[in-house]
């Protein structure tokens, strides 16, 4: 127990004071099997990455707002990338769900959660807002109704700092 507490305190201290927040250039796989690099989206402006799954109820509640932000801020350079971590068991549901909801944001697949792990995701949903220089500006785990207010405030600040 003592070792556990000590490890946790040291890491928390290091993370709070000196953690760096740059994302690596990651390859993302579209539903049609083709790959793109994250940097291609960052050239245009800030990027909001959302990790979700078709079996995740809070994820689906939050997606309504992701679609709203994509439509509202895409002209200002924002890209919303929804990365599904559905495994082979439910991956066939992804396109039909997005289509039924008429969502317009970009959707990618991460069936064995390797992109999620690279970006230090743990819970569903995980949202990561990345500035044009690759710095993580804000991140959030889970979704409680009302969280979208904070998300929009962060997006506004990000697009304003870009323009």
């Amino acid at each position: 127990m003592k070792k556990w507490i000590l490890i946790s305190v040291l890491v928390l201290l290091a993370s709070t004071l000196y953690g760096q927040n740059k994302v690596p250039d990651i390859k993302l796989k579209r539903m049609n099997g083709k790959s793109v690099m994250l940097q291609d989206f960052l050239k245009k402006g800030p990027v909001l990455i959302n990790f979700w799954a078709t079996w995740c109820a809070p994820c689906k509640k939050e997606m309504v707002y992701l679609d709203e932000f994509e439509k509202k801020y895409t002209d200002k350079g924002l890209s919303v990338l929804a990365i599904s971590i559905d495994s082979q068991k439910s991956i066939s549901h992804v396109r039909s769900y997005i289509r039924a909801k008429k969502y317009s944001f970009d959707v990618f697949l991460d069936p064995n959660s390797q992109v999620l792990k690279k970006l230090n995701g743990n819970l569903m949903p995980t949202d990561i807002l990345i500035g044009q220089d690759g710095t993580i500006l804000w991140r959030h785990n889970g979704y409680i109704p009302g969280d979208e207010k904070k998300m929009e405030a962060e997006i506004k600040a990000a697009v304003q700092s870009t323009s």
């Binding site: 070792k3 040291l10 000196y18 099997g33 079996w55 396109r95 792990k117 995701g121 109704p145």
Partner: protein
């Protein structure tokens, strides 16, 4: 380790982040739990990702004693070094790849059910817009729990198989088409505990997959041949008409023919599908607890099936989903005059609905949408499940036809409502109801003393109810109270009087809480990078399923759990 070593490590971290081009990030997940029935947990995982120029690195440290599921570990659990330049990528260490639909290669790390099919070795990848080539090689250690081996324990795996794997794939993209051919050779060191011998077995797999992704339709298939006789085939087609989609998938997995007695014996029976072959399951992945507890356990060696899916908007803001799944074994098994299992007639290319083929069927429908100007989100479902779990007897004699099997049938109604009170507060209600019949069915043409159905429960059927009420305060905290109630338990469960927690004691004034598991959970976002969760109470044990693989999780009685997630 002395404190000075921890401090030295911290100084190094500070210096490298402050003065070098090397950048790192990471995440800490830690869980601690203690219960009156000694289901104690102490588990910490620290993931660190590093980047420098074209290099990436990942290391996962674990300190568990014991974890919730799996073996204790104090040290490095996973690591990987990667280099990427132009079209080339090299990875050394623990790799996780997913090829096609997973019929040959699907490396997963699912800690919820202690399933890890990753490979420790190396991967070389070359890719341009048209062609991709992958080559990998390495070793794999698969741990599982088996009562065929001394020291069986639900939480701690007691049986290990070692593999050495080499594989390669050439994939191509052309407009909306994608295809690949692949090959893998696997050498297995299989311990046979009855004779205390390690049997060395070689496996060879060849596969192909083709997919098309168009604006109004997508379809594809994957075929894998294993050794002399084993094969797996998966196909799917989806059509999109406006906002509606209709789809169907088909699976035909036939890697081994195993009698009902040998079907799940992966210790003494060699061959069959490999653990790296985590294939599509073709039934609904349920997020609700009661449906999750009766998930069909897929047999990758011998399963034939299909599913049908329909999804689309009914009216504004409401989505309707429907799925139907059916599967069975390829052949009927029956007992001959010497009471040996013999393979009988075939089901053909479609699954059988006869119990002697271990038939499974499930129908699920769901409505998801918004009411009250978007302030009320609802999700209402309905599931009908029929599953033949085990075949115990199947005989044809001159004078009689008789068979008996264990089955499960359930009607489940899950519902969830989230009401947004104002910009900060929301209320969540969840209610699940299930009527479950599980037991042994007996059929005989001649009169018999055996009843046609003997329930596994002390009553004819088990009624399960889950009720949860929660309050959320965005973006800081959320809390919930959950009650999981059953009216009866299985006969084989011999349990001492359940240790009631304070919540159950209070609820005991309203109803008999001897079969109620209640808990309260609070989550608090300390910052956008730190989340603390505290749970007090009890959690019902049972089967936990993920990716078609199931584990039994023992109950957590009258205790507390603390969880912390921190992102560096």
């Amino acid at each position: 380790m002395k404190f000075s070593r921890y401090f030295f490590s911290f100084i190094i971290s500070f210096w490298t982040t402050g003065y070098c081009q090397f950048s790192f990030s990471g995440a800490l997940t830690t869980n601690y739990g203690q219960s009156k029935n000694d289901f104690n947990i102490q588990e910490t995982l620290l993931d660190i990702n590093g980047n420098w120029d074209n290099w990436t690195g990942w290391i996962q440290l674990e300190h568990s004693d014991p974890p919730e599921l799996g073996r204790s570990l104090k040290g490095i659990r996973k690591f990987r070094l990667g280099y990427s330049s132009g079209a080339y990528t090299i990875k050394l260490g623990d790799i996780y790849e997913f090829w096609g639909r997973g019929l040959m290669v699907n490396m997963v790390d699912d800690q919820a059910i202690d399933l890890d099919t990753g490979v420790r070795g190396g991967l070389l990848n070359w890719a341009n817009d048209l062609v991709q080539i992958d080559l990998f090689g390495g070793t794999q250690n698969i741990w599982r729990s088996s009562n065929e081996v001394f020291g069986f324990n639900d939480r701690l795996p007691n049986y290990e198989v070692d593999y050495t794997l080499y594989g390669g794939r050439i994939a191509a993209n052309y407009h909306q088409w994608h295809g690949a051919v692949k090959y893998m050779q696997v050498n297995e060191d299989h311990l046979l505990p009855r004779i205390d011998t390690i049997e060395k077995v070689g496996h060879e797999l060849i596969g192909v997959n083709i997919e098309y992704y168009g604006p109004t339709t997508d379809f594809g298939f994957e075929y894998v041949k294993k050794d002399a006789k084993g094969f797996g085939f998966y196909g799917l087609i989806n059509m999109y008409i406006g906002d509606w989609s209709i789809g169907t998938s088909y699976k035909n997995y036939h890697f081994a023919d195993l009698s009902p007695d040998d079907r799940w014996d992966f210790v003494n029976i060699i061959g069959g599908a490999l653990t790296i072959q985590q294939m599509p399951t073709l039934f609904e992945q349920h997020a609700t607890r009661l449906l999750g507890r009766i998930t069909h356990q897929i047999d990758y060696n011998d399963e034939l099936g299909f599913d049908l899916r329909l999804k689309g908007p009914l009216f504004q803001n409401t989505i309707f989903s429907f799925s139907y799944a059916s599967s069975s074994r390829h052949k009927e098994w029956y007992l001959d005059n010497n009471w040996n299992w013999i393979m009988g007639g075939s089901s053909g290319l479609l699954p059988s609905t006869k119990p002697v083929f271990n038939a499974f069927r499930e129908m699920y429908a769901e409505l998801e949408g918004y009411l009250l100007n978007g302030n009320l989100h609802y999700n209402i479902g309905s599931g009908l499940t029929n599953d033949v779990i085990d075949l115990y007897l199947n005989r044809y004699t001159d004078s009689n036809r008789s068979y008996s099997y264990e089955s499960l049938s359930a009607t489940t109604l899950p519902a969830q409502f989230t009401y947004t009170i104002n910009q900060k507060f929301s209320l969540e209600l969840k209610y699940e109801y299930q009527e479950l019949k599980k037991g042994v069915n007996t059929y005989s043409e001649l009169p018999t003393n055996m009843p046609p159905f003997t329930s596994n429960f002390l009553k004819d059927k088990q009624i399960n109810r889950i009720f949860s009420v929660g309050l959320g305060r965005s973006p800081l905290w959320s809390m919930s109270l959950m009650m999981d109630y059953a009216n009866t338990e299985e006969r084989i469960i011999v349990e001492e009087v359940k240790d009631k927690n304070l919540i159950e004691e209070i609820l005991g004034n309203l109803w008999d809480t001897s079969l109620t598991w209640a808990n309260m959970e609070i989550s608090y976002n300390i910052s956008s990078n730190h989340r603390l969760t505290v749970m007090y109470g009890s959690q019902r044990g049972g089967v936990l399923c993920s990716n078609g693989v199931c584990r039994y999780v023992q109950p957590f009685e009258n205790g507390f759990k603390i969880g912390l997630i921190a992102v560096l």
